[in-house]
Symmetry: C2
Subunit: 696 residues, 2 copies
């Protein structure tokens, strides 16, 4: 029997469910981007909710979406507000990065700063700062100093992103510990993260959140031609934001990474969250040149940055992956022995590379993985067959420097105890570049790679290496969010599926993967993808291996242009390069620091064609890549100085090249070109092209 | 309806339940203590269980009790064994501690080493090493290197202690984070840990395990006159062992402290557990002189220990507790200001004390507690009103040294990052004694004060301070287990309810508390109890305070004899001491290092009377204390050199003294005594006496 009470209750529930629709929210305020293409609208509904809405040239980008927080200490739900103030301002400034894809960056936005008062009796005030650029928007929460809030614990962030339609979506499974997935391309409604993650057999550690949780950066292409990216900027003292999808409402809600006891963040006023970013354009190319995320980061904290030098390096690394050598000494195939490292130093010196990365140099690799062991490496004890002192002298004599490797095995408490001694050891040995690694489950046990505690750790490493004038390249760290502006010594990170997965037995690296990365992962900063493989059947030292790199050789060259990193590895073995010295010339010549970047053509998941001008020089370099489809690209050289003549050195797939059947077939041609030239280039399946343009 | 299956099942269950009784286990082997008073019997039952049983002079100490482990990785239950070998041996050696209650310690035991093979197909072997001394037994598990076991994770230790009757029990609630409880004295069957813990309102942090969980050391007095203590020794790389009580079977089972994800210990072969110890005697006094726990620890790891010097110190501490000053600078009552510390240095110099402890010297106290904040103190930044450089010079000129204070606020990750810099800062400032503190919830979040991770931390601090030649006194650390043998620079710890609780508003320190501590907490090592209060109404600076110290002044003197520590605080304010300079003389004279210790009379919870001979001198010091009852003690001086004459300086309660009504009433008398003298001393309620015996 349904009682009167029950009926009343049901009516009330029905009323509540329909509430958001039935209330005619009053627009409170709106601002537009400097060029008026983007409009942000803020509404304060009758219930007190504050929603934001974003439109681009009249098209919906984000439907009205919620803002707010749930705190576990003090216990409070902050999602009903009175708007106390709404202040607007405009900023237009230009700054110079220490290194990068361009030598000047314009930071031009309109800002709306909302001051919100919690409608309950908590007395808590917070602010939401919106910045609307011509290519998107960022917003963050700020908690000013106040009586009602000093220390607080975030249970959940209630930020939402509601989409207008069932867009085509480029997504990875949400995961607290790994971002080394392939991208899935489906309709938003078809996201199935657990199934996708289950397909991935080669990831060392997975902490999949659930079937409807996805990672950022998350990329959409709408039916009406918009490219939209959801991400974050300036991720400091806060966990990574993943997103939980409600398929019915097409709403993505922030899913912060929990700590060992389930809390999300421990904060103290005054404080703020990272920026939540929404890039939007009707041209895919605009995402690739967007500086919005860097602009939302603080300017450099490093006063004298003269010691920070973009570089290319070779190294002791891929030979472990393909079974020629091992990291560990036991077993008789130890790669990092003095003689072998000398060979790499000789090779670097001969071909003009700056550094030699040496992995497996230090004691501990016999027992480093899989046991959640805390005391693994001490970072200062070389294996007895690795004579670091003599190698440092030898390298110095040849103008080459050794690059340090600190694999933490996820035991971060151990690393933090030893960081100072480890960096002093580097300085003593004339080593000023460091590759870190975080393979395995994190210690403190219960913490995750993407949690607040680890985010703070990565920052500590960036700051401490800066104190020691050490350049940093972090692997298995959280996704980058433009912090290389603030810490320009933190030059690169992996934080995505990199070239090492070419060796993975199952999914590997698909041909399309490198056409998606620049639209997603690379929005946050340079990636140490480790391109430059020249041999694609990986049975060189182990005839049982059937893995194959799904790329042509010309595409590997192109990646040096299309996947930016100021620390760029030349990843293959010396003997494999010396079989193709003519093609190798491109890798020797391509720079790692640029004055300018032009996107000539781009479509995520399909192809990218871009041109970059060498820093302080008159040379341009063009890189073009395609997915599993062959493609003819038209390369319009109108970015060259008008009236000047250039020599073009064109490295491209041979006519019969094919990533699967004939990956090493390439041709190199030289021709005179001008700004009026239009080159027509054929890319093979999984292929690419690389062009050097030298002003005459 | 009960099916045939059900009936069979019920019969089976009944059979299983009665199994331990119905199987007539075969004794496998037994050994006795060197003096034959203690017999250990090992049985391997038909089910494969290996039980141990302990008897003292024919009386039951431990009934047949189980041994074993549950592992979570590899998944295995190790409690059914084949005994592969049973080896016996005898050791009798004597060693000299760096400092202590006696100058020589005999280590005399018979050993039985069982090698056990798991009866399942795991292939795992382990050993149990039993050592039977004249005053008890220790045993530990050892995991030798083996194919079947390398890295493993302990889910539970299955060690049991089954008692023969419902003994009188001195117990504290089992707690993962605090050992600062009063002892409860009840029958074993009356243990109610949650109710007891709920009565304790003044403990900063409690993580009570459950109603039937108690801490070790756990003390019993049996109806047939035995005193039994259950504890542990050499607690390294393993969590603290608490005990879960099954009242029906009177069985206590090991309850290890879990980590953030619920595991107990991460181990790698070869490894071993701490020793589980059982002290037993028919004389209570024997527990107080037992060296069993120290003997089960490894010998000193510190080669040159000449820099380790027992000492007495005054300090900036109690005045914060009673409201004269504050740790924090904000508020205008900052204690650790240069002028005030100078006063303490003057006081120490005037009365001949070695050190001045200064708490609240460093920036951070405004916001140090209760927020699980990670970056609190940096341990190298003094408040601006504390001129450390000038104070160090000033102190040195007066032959006094400042004692450093590192309050971690439980943020151990932060402390570990900064330890090296903090110790270098100490060395630079001529400071070689350190008091650490761990008040508050531990970071790494989810870890506990008593968990394996923290046990490893305490060891790291002991080892690192030793490298810097720093003497260590740790507060809020896990209970001590004789590690001061191995790390003699780790001279004292708190790890129990200390004198500071005299200021607590509710339960405080009961008069009996100090008569229990030597039978329990102090079995593991010296305690920084901070005795020496001379003013007992605590309204000196805050007239609203009603707390009162429940002791007489003479008892405070006696504690310097009965509560051993080589780092002994002289805890009250200079102005309070200077009102009783005659009584203060005892504290000036009493040493902190001894050649010998004699227990003249003792009963846990009632009274303790002991005599100690000063290290390298002919003077003896006697301390006697009582609980809430007045008592007449007979002090037989037959420990003095026969035929020699001594001057006795007797500090005792005045005839009308009473902890409650007249605590500061004492008399001092001097008389000639010899080894034939028998002094009769009256102790007031909550009173005590202290006697100095100077050879003439």
């Amino acid at each position: 029997m349904i009682s009167t009470y029950t009926v009343k209750y049901l009516l009330l529930v029905a009323a509540l469910i329909s509430l958001p629709k039935s209330i005619h929210a009053q627009p409170v305020t709106s601002i537009t981007s400097p060029d008026k293409s983007i409009t942000l609208t803020i509404r304060n509904t009758q219930t007190g909710a504050v929603n934001y809405q974003l439109a681009y040239k009249g098209k919906s980008v984000i439907e009205p979406s919620g803002l707010g927080f749930s705190l576990s200490k003090p216990k409070a739900t902050l999602n009903r507000f009175t708007i106390v103030a709404a202040d607007t301002s405009t900023t237009d400034e230009t700054w110079q990065p220490v290194w990068g894809e361009t030598n000047r960056i314009r930071n031009h936005y309109k800002e709306l700063l909302l001051t919100l008062q919690d409608k309950t009796d908590s007395g808590i005030q917070l602010r939401v700062r919106f910045r609307v650029f011509n290519d998107g928007m960022g917003f963050r929460y700020e908690f000013p100093p106040q009586q009602a809030l000093t220390h607080f614990v975030v249970a959940d962030e209630l930020t939402q992103f509601t989409l207008s339609a069932d867009h085509k979506t480029f997504w990875m499974p949400g995961d607290y510990d790994s971002n080394e997935y392939l991208y899935n391309t489906t309709k938003l409604s078809e996201v199935d993260a657990v199934t996708a993650a289950d397909r991935e057999k080669d990831t060392a550690l997975k902490s999949v959140i659930g079937p409807k949780a996805v990672q950022t950066p998350l990329l959409f292409k709408t039916a009406d031609g918009l490219y939209i990216s959801l991400y974050e900027a300036a991720l400091l003292n806060y966990p990574v934001m993943h997103l939980q999808l409600d398929k019915k409402t097409r709403t993505l809600t922030a899913q912060l990474v929990p700590d060992a006891v389930g809390n999300k963040a421990y904060l103290q006023t005054p404080t703020q969250t990272p920026w939540r970013t929404i890039l939007v354009s009707d041209k895919a190319a605009d995402l690739l040149t967007s500086k919005l995320i860097m602009n939302l980061n603080e300017s450099s904290k490093i006063g004298d940055s003269s010691w920070i030098k973009p570089q290319k390096f070779v190294g002791m690394w891929w030979e472990m992956h393909i079974g020629k050598a091992t990291w560990e000494k036991a077993g008789g195939k130890h790669g990092a022995n003095t003689q072998n490292v000398k060979k790499y130093i000789d090779f670097a010196a001969k071909y003009g590379f700056d550094g030699v990365l040496v992995e497996g140099w230090n004691v501990g690799w016999e027992d480093w993985f899989g046991n959640w062991k805390e005391d693994v490496f001490d970072f200062v004890t070389p294996y007895p067959d690795y004579n670091l002192d003599s190698l440092v002298r030898y390298a110095r004599g040849k103008g080459v420097r050794i690059i340090m490797h600190h694999e933490t095995s996820g035991s971060v408490t151990n690393y933090e105890r030893r960081m100072d001694a480890a960096y002093q050891y580097m300085v003593k040995h004339d080593i000023n570049t460091l590759k870190t690694g975080y393979v395995g489950r994190i210690i403190p046990r219960g913490e995750h790679h993407d949690g607040q505690w680890m985010i703070n750790h990565y920052q500590r490493v960036a700051e401490k290496t800066a104190q020691y004038k050490i350049m940093l390249d972090s692997h298995e760290s959280a996704h980058p969010t433009g912090l290389h502006r603030t810490y320009p010594n933190w030059m690169a990170s992996e934080a995505a599926r990199g070239s090492e997965f070419n060796n993975a037995p199952t999914l590997g690296i698909t041909p399309e993967h490198t056409t998606i990365l620049p639209f997603t992962r690379l929005l946050g900063g340079p990636m140490d993808f480790t391109p430059g493989l020249f041999r694609f059947r990986l049975n060189q030292f182990d005839s049982t291996r059937t893995q194959q790199v799904r790329t042509t050789l010309a595409k590997q060259l192109a990646l040096y242009v299309t996947l930016y990193s100021p620390l760029q590895m030349v990843a293959d073995l010396p003997e494999n390069y010396e079989k193709h010295v003519d093609a190798f010339q491109f890798i020797r010549d391509v720079p790692v620091d640029w004055d300018d970047t032009k996107i000539l053509a781009a479509e995520p998941g399909d192809y990218i064609l871009m041109a970059r001008k060498e820093k302080g020089k008159n040379s341009w370099f063009v890189g073009g890549i395609t997915d599993e489809n062959s493609r003819d690209l038209s390369v319009n050289l109108n970015f060259l100085d008008p009236g000047s003549s250039y020599e073009a050195v064109i490295y491209r797939d041979a006519a019969d090249a094919d990533w699967d059947k004939n990956p090493e077939a390439y041709t190199i041609e030289r021709k005179k070109v001008t700004a009026k030239t239009n080159l027509s280039i054929h890319l093979a399946k999984g292929g690419g092209c690389a062009i050097q343009l030298i002003k005459k």
